[in-house]
């Protein structure tokens, strides 16, 4: 295992330990926790502050239940639990974008009970069909910029923003390259390691991460691999936090070969660049309005995740789609209604695997995966076209 990969893995295994060490080594610098998904973190970077993408904690929720009831997704429960645990004390603020009522309530709970964490909610307008959507987004991003300037203690100018866009666009390009390399040769990198790569990008200073990714790509280009036997699959879901690596391992153990994905710790993080032309805040608003990949948090008639999923799965040449559904994620469940039928009509087999913060039984997932793989293998052996599961 290379030193770079080990660094990525160490960050993935305990990102909060990493950031505490970083803060210890960088006492004069500020770090702000951000809810990564749909968040214009370039604004934070432009202020010279480290944006740390909040990751689901690994601890069992305990004190968090004094503040929230159990039927919230693992990510938001974990986030709230971090309040009494003190995990978030290292940050100068906690900034979250409203993409879901559970994130809103998590922010509200921290705001009320742990105001010293400086939790702030930004609320981008989610209805992309309205003429006012872009002006509303610009207004909200300008408000965010003022909040970040307040944290930083200085103004952020357009030049700094555009520089951040360049750095981030480079980061995304490097991650996309690794994504494509993985698609061409899935033996290059396991699913859990891909997650570590992406998570490191969400957490580390971007410039440093860019350097590491370039070195990592060079390693991959020279890596000798043996083809793995199994069923090529597409991983979908987990919109705003990482799936458990135990589930990723189980998928591969049971014969799934991950060829492509639209995960939070995957394609979703690096799909969209920001334009370097024109007004930078407007460019961020334009980026938000791009429906690639589709996201059920936004409103637009073209925002059809099911169609995107089928198209991507076919382009990737996979034999099946594995939908990773975090328990209590309503956005994703609503999207599943059409995913189910579109995949079936498109002749693409799929399975839905539900995950939880505290995973009670991996054996259930083992059985599901085993059955799924066997079903596909049987179809392949018969040479029959998949009718898909309705």
């Amino acid at each position: 295992m290379s030193k770079i990969m080990q660094t990525f893995i160490d960050i993935r295994n305990d990102p909060y330990d990493w950031v505490n060490k970083w803060k210890g080594d960088n006492k004069d610098k500020k770090v702000v926790a951000i809810g990564v998904y749909h968040f214009p973190e370039e604004i934070v970077h432009a202020a010279g502050i480290l944006p740390f993408g909040l990751q689901e904690g690994s601890e069992t929720i305990v004190d968090g239940y004094n503040y929230i009831y159990p039927a919230y997704c693992g990510y938001t429960r974990s986030l709230i639990d971090m309040g009494p645990r003190g995990t978030l004390r290292v940050f100068d603020a906690v900034l979250i974008s409203d993409i879901c009522i559970q994130l809103v309530k998590a922010d509200q709970t921290l705001f009320r009970n742990f105001p010293s964490l400086h939790p702030v909610l930004i609320q981008p307008s989610l209805d992309l069909t309205k003429d006012r959507n872009k002006p509303d987004l610009i207004e909200e991003y300008k408000r965010l910029k003022e909040i970040v300037e307040d944290i930083a203690g200085h103004k952020i100018d357009d030049a700094a923003l555009k520089n951040s866009f360049k750095v981030y666009n480079k980061n995304r390009a490097l991650l996309r390259k690794i994504h494509k390399m993985r698609s061409k040769n899935p033996s290059l990198i396991r699913a859990r390691d891909m997650q570590a790569v992406v998570m490191s990008a969400m957490v580390m200073p971007k410039e440093e991460n860019n350097n590491m990714l370039e070195e990592f790509i060079a390693e991959l280009e020279n890596k000798k691999t043996a083809a793995r036997k199994g069923i090529p699959v597409f991983l979908s879901g987990h919109l705003c936090h990482a799936p458990k690596i135990e589930i990723l391992d189980m998928i591969e153990e049971m014969g799934g070969i991950v060829v492509d994905d639209d995960l939070h710790t995957g394609y979703r993080y690096y799909a969209k660049d920001v334009s370097l032309d024109g007004d930078p805040i407007e460019a961020l608003a334009d980026r938000f309005r791009i429906i690639d990949p589709p996201c059920p948090s936004r409103i637009h008639p073209d925002n059809n995740w099911d169609q995107f999923l089928l198209k991507k799965a076919k382009e990737a040449g996979v034999k099946g789609v594995i939908i990773l559904q975090p328990k209590f994620c309503e956005h994703q469940n609503f999207a599943y209604i059409y995913q189910k039928r579109t995949l079936a009509e498109g002749g693409m087999d799929h399975i839905l695997i539900e995950s939880e913060h505290e995973m009670i039984s991996l054996e259930k997932i083992r059985t599901q995966m085993q059955a799924f793989v066997e079903m596909i293998q049987a179809k392949m052996a018969k040479g029959s076209k998949s009718k898909g599961r309705k």
Binding site: Y69, V120, K130
Partner: protein, 424 residues
Amino acid sequence: MSDNKPKERKHNRVMATRAVNDAVEAYYEKCWADAEKGALTAWGEGIAYFPLIRAAGINYVFADAMSARMGARKFPYAKEAAADFGFLEETCSYARFHIGASRILKGDFPYDKSWDLKKIMAPLPDVYFNTDACSAGNTWGELLRRYLNIPVFTVFTRRVFTWGEIPPEDKHVVEQLKEMVKFIEKMTGKPYDWDKLREILGILKQSAAMRARLRDLMKLRPAPLTYFDVLSTFASFTILHGLPEAPKLLGDVVKECEERVAKGISGIKNEKYRLYWLGAMFWTKLGSMAEKFAQLDVTVVGGTYDFMFYPYPEEIDPDKPLETLAASATSCGYTLDNDNAAEIADFRLCKDLNIDGIIVYECHTCRMQSGSNHDRADYVARRLGVPITYVTGDFVDDAFFSEAQFDTRIEGLLEIIDARRRGK
């Protein structure tokens, strides 16, 4: 609590509340009859803006209320239709039941034809309105847009808390309501009837005055009615919201309660405890819960729904209709931060109700309602010095309600109250 049925009913139901059910049934029948004649039907999430829809002559059906009705009537097929569609149990039960119903109405899912659908659900809509109070509402609307091939109009309402202050979100919403009026004009092909809107707000104001009177009566000891009686009138400020029959129905309830006060008749046989219900409600068990509490000598004297859907007449100004509608949405318990919500929604009620304790109802599938409840209960309990208990249930899905847990938690709360009384 004993498993044996009580020998004597102790909940003294306000009989005038029964007329509300007849009025709701009549409204659903009207929706069906009007639809057959080509009138527009709108479904929607959220109450705040529907006077705007109703004033245009469109029959508005509040989605939550339709689901609550199916739950209360124990109609089983909507839930099955939703599960068959791909919904997981953890998803909002209002949405599941509602979308399940749309499948049944569309003919995509079977049901026992002995059920008269016209009595429990509205006809399929021509349009859907989404007030964005909850993110699930957005996905709900989008799903129906696609499944039913109907237009959807969303009013985006920010959650208006920043550093403890309430910024002026109303103006932002008013601008969107103006767009909504244009959208409605396009749908109906007619100029918007502003006079009708003012008239509807006038009716709402009358309804609100009746509700205010009921809240005043609830302060009496013993109370002449219970929160469950209020909830039995709920449809008058949801489905029947702004219709002329609504204030009359509420007026009859007020009259009966005032007569009870004159005669010394209370809402339950022996009021020993007064509790506040913070959170949603389990609509399938309204009647049995009313009796359950009465058997324990508990009057539930108020709750979250007392504050919802235009409860204060002084906040309704028919001459400023869009501002009134916007304020209703931006100042409701779910768009304010937790402490502000607790102050204006819960504490404002509780401080005059002489409550002994708070029940927090954690509605399993509603993250919007349940997410703030811990903080809101804490806010009120600290100021009033009362204990809290938590019970889990749902809006309409029986799978998430445990009678035994409910009984244990309520009885435990009463024991705490007794102990505190002994200690004084």
